[in-house]
Amino acid sequence: MSEHYPVLLVVLPLLAAPICLLLRHGTASRILAVLVAWTCLAMALEVLNQVTSGENISYMLGGWAAPYGIEYRVDALNAYLLVIVSVIASVVLPFGETSSDLTVRTGSLYLYHAAFLLCFCGLMGIAVTGDLFNVFVFLEVSSLASYALIGLGKGRRALRAAFSYLVMGTIGGTFFLIGVGLLYQKTGTLNMADLAVRVRELTDAGVGLRSVIAAFAFLVTGVSIKLAVFPLHQWLPNAYTHAPAKVSAFLAATATKVSFYLLLRVLFGIFGAAFVFGTLRLHVLLVPLSILAMFSCSLAAIYQRDIKRMLAYSSIAQIGYMTLGLSTNTELGLTGSIAHLFNHALTKGGLFLVVACVAFRLQSTKLEDWSGIGRRMPWTMAAFVVGGLSLIGVPGTVGFVSKWYLVLGALDAEWLPVAILILFSSLLAVVYVWRVVEIAWFREPPDDVEIKDAPLSLLLPTWILIGGTVFFGLYTEITIEVARKAAGLLLGVAP
């Protein structure tokens, strides 16, 4: 049974989504979705266990041999990502009242769960597959589902946010498709491991480089749109601000992370570090963009009046840290990037859930409405403080661990100014986190409203994620070991 886990991780949510439609019942479909997410989590943990203890897993769909059939390939990096996505889904799905900030009528809640499962399926699919065209299909499955989910947010602005995300996302996806086509034309294969060998032959020989470089440009631009790399991030703040709170939490913690994984696979897996950083010198472009993202989006976050929008800008800044880590092209920097992927998923997921808790009681995500909320909802806002500390990178939280490795990576690449800028930009995070803490804890709450703390069904998942940021901040070996292994794989030979 366990040899089929890689494919079951995708098939299970894919089958459960239409079953949700057939059930036509909100609670029943929700129970099904939660069960599917938990089963996937158990399988993903088992897969991670197999991969870390022994060989990489290679699963041939339908028994067709690798370069011809579709191959699902799991190594340390994928397995890690599969666990992240399924953890977030398992925590977010059972979370509290679903209908409170959706425009769906209570009778049609099953549609929301079906879309959620499809999005989950697509993200798992991108992570597990070893076939480049398959990646495109899953990319569009997850994106289409997330456009629908974002469109379910309250207020008409959610619709516009979903529409502009749809336009940007489709352009990104189509760019990716063009890149895949050009590579197929040059190499005659779609299997990523096979592509890596053949592309390297081409780049080493220096033949037909123009097509390969065009393919590279299309693939990287396409993924960068989905990842919201600065300056392609315009869709992200609106989408995360107007989406339902749970959807924001899920997407912020998973969708950009999966895109980042895809970028890693394309850069290091298919084209190889020597070509990307040696011949094309991508870091000359990527480092300034990353630093701009870190500073301009952290600054933008400081001036936001809506807390969800503030967190969204902070997400783009954090993506800047990740792309910076990979452009150092050192094992330490890459370890930092991959660890940051996991750590930021926990932190940002937790913080968006805090916002969901407050919005559940307060019906507002505006900063000025949050004055004194810390005294009314102490447990919720304590979680915000811990999450905020992790966002800044205070020792004892996960944020510190990954930033430490990022700085080490920058020093290893002998980029002293960059290392200093990483530390300096963390100070900006202090400012925007402190603004919220100051208003929530040190202002007098309005007397007329009496608000209780969030119910346990909301607090529990929030604290699971926030607790995770502290736990993995203290026991750093667990994540760093996997991240280092994945970084070694990427920098070493073909995937």
């Binding site: 299909v137 569009e140 207020g155 008409r156 516009r160 749809l166 352009i171 498709l177 086509g181 197929y184």
Partner: protein, 125 residues
């Protein structure tokens, strides 16, 4: 001149692609934006089919023994099959996009983007 005639179909694909992209960027009407996206996606489908087609190539079906003199030339079926999936993705995107446009029309009373932006700006929320 040579570059144009040798790669004629590719220039057609590029022209189509840029037309689609230009419509997406320049039009304010949301339905027109969706149309632009469609043209953009179709150009990629053409690109794939172009690279698979060999002049004189037939469908990759085994010929009966002796019925064919000499070697048969086959077109590559794989890109065609890939494009079936891409067409499905395109249809799904269009359907979802149009559904969103319908809801935007219900919520805002218009499908012109500049008016929607103006309404959002005036509405303090």
């Amino acid at each position: 001149m040579n570059a144009i005639t040798e790669h004629g179909v590719y220039w057609l694909c590029i022209a189509l692609m840029m037309t689609g992209l230009y419509i997406v960027i320049s039009r304010d009407h949301l339905v027109k934006k969706i149309m632009g996206l469609n043209i953009f996606q179709v150009s990629v489908i053409m690109l794939y089919v172009t690279m698979a087609k060999i002049s004189g190539g037939t469908a990759p079906i085994l010929q009966a023994q002796g019925s064919e003199s000499g070697e048969a030339v086959y077109s590559n079926p794989l890109p065609h099959v890939l494009m079936l999936t891409a067409i499905v993705v395109g249809v799904a995107t269009t359907a979802l996009g149009l559904a969103l446009v319908v809801r935007i029309q219900l919520a805002y009373g218009t499908v012109e983007e500049d008016e929607i932006v103006r309404m959002d700006r005036e509405d303090p929320e």
